[in-house]
């Protein structure tokens, strides 16, 4: 399990619709905005990279000091972004694929408006379980 990991789902409108600190280290107050800053800045890189490859998993696209941003872009251009300090690329890929599946299930909910915040607690627990499993 990575000591620091921040997972964010960003909608196609660049708005975060799901945020979770999934690292084993307790979340520090200071880190919250730093993580957001790094992930937000990484969107610029993703924007370029996403159109150069047909793969959904873009591997690590950006880094800030020892924190690495790995991104997975869905077909609807929703971006699953993980800020992490571990180097377990296979685990991250599996994590993204499973979260993508969960996200699709959310999308299938007729009451969920695409692009709106994901408030499902079930989704949250599942994502955290996946993070424990893979990261």
């Amino acid at each position: 399990m990575a000591s620091t990991a921040c997972f964010v789902i960003v909608s196609r409108n660049d708005i975060p619709i799901y945020e979770a600190e999934v690292g084993s280290v307790l979340k520090k107050e200071e880190a919250a905005h730093l993580h957001q800053f790094i992930l937000h800045a990484a969107l610029d890189i993703v924007q370029d990279l996403a159109w150069t490859t047909s793969a959904m998993f873009l591997k690590s696209v950006d880094r800030f000091n020892d924190l690495v941003v790995s991104v997975y872009v869905t077909a609807g251009h929703t971006r699953l972004m993980l800020l992490h300090d571990s180097r377990n690329e296979d685990g991250i890929k599996s994590f993204f694929q499973d979260v993508h599946e969960l996200y699709l299930k959310i999308l299938l909910n007729p009451l969920y408006l695409p692009g709106s915040r994901i408030t499902s607690s079930h989704f949250d627990t599942k994502v955290r379980a996946l993070a424990r499993k893979y990261l």
Binding site: I15, Q36, F37, A41, D44
Partner: protein
Amino acid sequence: MDPLKTYLGRLVLEELTPVVMVLTTPLVEDSCRKNGLGFVDMLLPFSVFKKFDVPVRTVNDQPYRLQMFKLRMVYASDVRQPNYEAAKEHLKQVVHDSGEKALSDLLSDPPQLETVLSNSESDLCPQWIQTFNKELIRTLSFSEHETFDHPVACLLVVSSKDEQPINKFVDIFNTNQLPSLLNDGLMDPKILKHYVLLHDNQDSSPEKATHILAEMRNTFGPNDCKLLCINSATEDVNNKGFSSVPYKTHGFLGEDIARCLNLEDLKSIKDFMQDLNSNHIIPFMEQKIRILNQQVATTRKGFRNQIKNLWWRKGKDDLPEDPSGSTYTFSSIETQIRILGDYAFILQDYELALSNYRLLSTDYKLDKAWKRYAGVQEMSGLCYFMLDQSRKEAEYCMENAFSTYLRVGSSGQRYASRCGLWWAEMLKARAQYREASGVYFRISIEEPSLHAAVMLEQAAGCYLLSKPPLLRKYGFHLILAGNRYYISDQIKHAIRAYRNALFVYSENAWSYINDHVHFNVGRWYGFLGMFDVAINHMLEVLACGHQSLATQSTFLNDFFHFVQRLGKSFDVCKLQLPVINLFSLKIVYEDHRTYASTADVDVTESLWQALEEEMVPVSTVRANWLDSQPKSSSRKDDDFSICVAGEAVKVEVELKNPLQISISVSSISLICELSASSEASTIDRSVSSAEVQEDTNLMKTSFCSDQKGENSSFTLSKIDVELGGGETKRVQLEVTPKVEGVLKLVGLRWTLSDSVVGYQHFETDAKKKHKKGKRSKHSWKSSLNLIVIKGIPKLEGRVDGFPTKTFAGDLRLLMLSLRNHSEYSLKNIRMKVSHPRFLIPANSADIHEDFPQCLEKQRQMENKDASGNAKNLSRSAFFSFPNDVTIRGGETFSWPLWFHSGSSGNISLYMSIYYEMEGGSSDMTYRTLRMNYNLEVLPSLDISFLISPWPSRLQEYFVRMDVVNRTISETFLLHQLSCVGNQLVISALPSCNSICSMQEIFAGQTLSCFFKLKVLMTGEKNEESVQGSDMLLSSAISNDMLLDVSRSPLSDFHYQERYHQGKLVKGYQSLLDFIMISKMVSSNLDSEEGPNQLLLSNHACHCSISRTSPIWWLMDGPRTIYHEFSSSFCEIDLQLTIHNCSNSLVSIRVATFDSMLETTQSSDAVHLSDNSNDQGGWYDVSLTNDIKLISNVQGSRSQKRLSESTPPFVWSALSSTQLAMEPASTAKLPLKIFVFSPGTYNLSNYELHWKIQPQGEGITDEVKNKSSSGLGQGHPFYLTVLQAP
């Protein structure tokens, strides 16, 4: 691209230039100081040679021309590595100065996306940043591992006033005073020397100077000596302006700059410099290059030398490495190569320089002299750039140099920064902005915070310049820069950086980012004392529900601190605290419909309308049947809601506190506008057009309406609320218009923590809703604009003592009180109640009577009153008060109401009271007062009755009453059981007195009582009248009287119960009704109830008589007979009375037989018991089962016995008789037996076969429930015949 035209090219030409070391005597400085300058400063403007155009020939035969050249004049004392701390201070000063200039910008609006994108490079990288970069590079000059800072020449200056000037020249070039570079042997001390005699014209005539010059020429050689005359200007003021011009461009500002210099002097200085440069320095360098090149060629060039070099170097590997690399003196071949390269570089022969650097880099690499290696790499990178050759090589060299410097450790760190700056500039020159920003970022990691801040800001600028612009990266790096600026105490720069980034984060979706940026900008503005701007930023972060408690309180505290410091009242549109939920906005106004309490408004309008349907006059006449919607009296009413002058319009809205900290919100009030009635019509039309301009005027109107508040045509209520953490509260605000006109609800205002006034407009949201559909917008619009009319005074009403929680069957007298506050009197009052089962109006006489004594039976009362009430049953739902009832102004009118909770559950009772005004003119004809009461009725006593025929008596029944106390803790006292119906008499069983005396029933207790019910056959049945027989159960208390169930209200409620329970019970109609009256002994329910006992009346209606067959029969005859058997056999007459209880035609066959068939009996017995099982409630277990068992056992035994012998008696007459019976008729059938011997006989061996004739509709129910035919076994009848004596 020409490298010389790029910024880096210019920078290289300016910075990497020959250094001229200057040695002066104090008198020289004195002379110069008259002009406010040092000697070096005086020469500075003339050390740059633009449009120089001098031919230079280095190693190649082909000369080339230098276009631009510069000399760096440095005092010998400065030829050393600058003190690091001093350099830092210097850089800080540079940053600080620029910050002061930027102050004015901070007050303007933050830049927007468009303006930032249109900015050119120079805007993003302002002059001061370039200055900073230059200064940063300069702090690293005179390093030990590089030679381009080594002085090329030495300028020895002696004043003509000096004693023995020749000796002075020798003295000042004393090795003790020379810089360490020369002394340590890092540099060749044999450098070009140039001797200058400075003559001050103010002191003496130039003759002495020329004399000394001649002497100098003799001593030092003719070419290397110069005379420089200065301060020739007299006190004439004219020259002053011109002579100081060159100095001003170099940053020397002041009144006395170049005061004593005239144009002659300046020209002579210029000529001196020109001569020094072109005649001495450049030729010297050319010559040195050639010599060095020759040396290098002989020692290092060629295959043989290379092999030798490699061999020799290998041997050196074993030696311990010296990190400072001081093993290389000026005479070592490596240093000589380096000097050769640097000189070539300075003379812009980059190819020569590059070849030497390459040669050198391998050497240093082998020697592991990493710092020197990096320096060489750095220079070769620059060479590649200046040659505009292989870009890849250039970048590789730079990266190599950068990382090598970093590898060296702390000593190389700052060189890495310099190298990085070159590198970044190089990338920028080639428009590789993204890579450049990466380099800047790498520099920032190693530098102290202030330097890092500047680097990060440059990195941000590069991200913006890259194509396409990386805005988020730009923002992020600006924030990082701002943070570093703040750490290094440059608040103005910090604000500037954050402000520039604001537009990137304007979308607000990334909550933590948003909070961080706005909070910090706000805080820093606060530090600078610009509280208004600070507060504007702080407002953005107030609703920070996602932050931790500590952060929230920090935000709030800082915000209120700034507000306090600002010291004036502060109005904020759309203040985020508390959050106003505009969707929860509800406007309650009363037109002709008025409500007793606010909760009543929530009831659906259709429910009220259905209730009031009969009561309210139809105001409009429909023109024809096509007009389904009745036209209202005025068109206005459709668009606007109506309210009445003098009555409050209530607005309910939800306030939410998103924080975990509690906040106090005070003086919440509405913002309203009321235009007088004369304008009403115009406003009506202009509302839609005014809509557009409203936004702009909104601020103004809200203020003026607020000022009007004191004396204007409406009054506003103010509410103070304390909102706890995360709490949501609904507040009700009121506005009371005083005059007629149009009232417009504009918005809401409140004061947060007594310091900040916030307001929110309703209108803005209405516009948002516009998208969703026209209808919703319309409704909003209409509800926000209210027409104020003059109306009928409002009646206030309430029902006193209405319980919220009670038990089923609770009977009580309530008081409806209506209060008229106005001076007008009201008439024509009517009332309608939704549930007459629960509430009926009483007689006005009831008001004076005590409850429950009024219910008690009064013998003298005649029955006509009761029957009169009973007929008028419809009045309970709709009730007109007597015509003479008027409510005069200021009076309170009371009317009693009977309340009876019929069934358990949650019940909403609706009452509507209609009234008109007596006389007087008004815009209304009538008003209604609507009241709604919710009550919870708990189950109390469940009563069930089972009535079964008395087996041996006609028209008498067993009544078994089961009472279950369903409450948890209450005890009831059974008071009275009444049986409704004229011809019924209920009485206790003679043998069961003990059961009846148990009149108390505790919680959860079940009680069964048995009664006898007798039907009186006299008189015909009258269903309507509620008359019956009563039985007092509580015999112990003698003073309790029976209650009269035949009078109102019990009879009325009974009728209702009968109606409601009748809906449930289908099938047997017109059966028995019972009323059980009980009292509650102790009540925990309502404390206000006090000692009064609750009176409960439970009604059980439509109790059916349980039967197994539709017929009922009884054998009648003598029981004991004395007969003389000797004379003849005995002949006995018997009578069988048969009654048809069903309501259909039944045909009956009576069959007698002398010997019984076993099969028939047993099957019938089973059938009987089955039937009784089907009956709900209870059934006569003892009787039926006993019979069955006994008869089964005994019967079979007796059968055997009987079949063997002849029966002791025989039936005479026919063995079967057929007869048909009308519904509810009785027939008597004579029977006869012959007895042959004395004994006791059971005359039960007869059967009644009955069959229901299908007739009319009566049978359908019958057939459903029961079999249409059946068999009745004879009842046992014992006859004793004795021998007559």
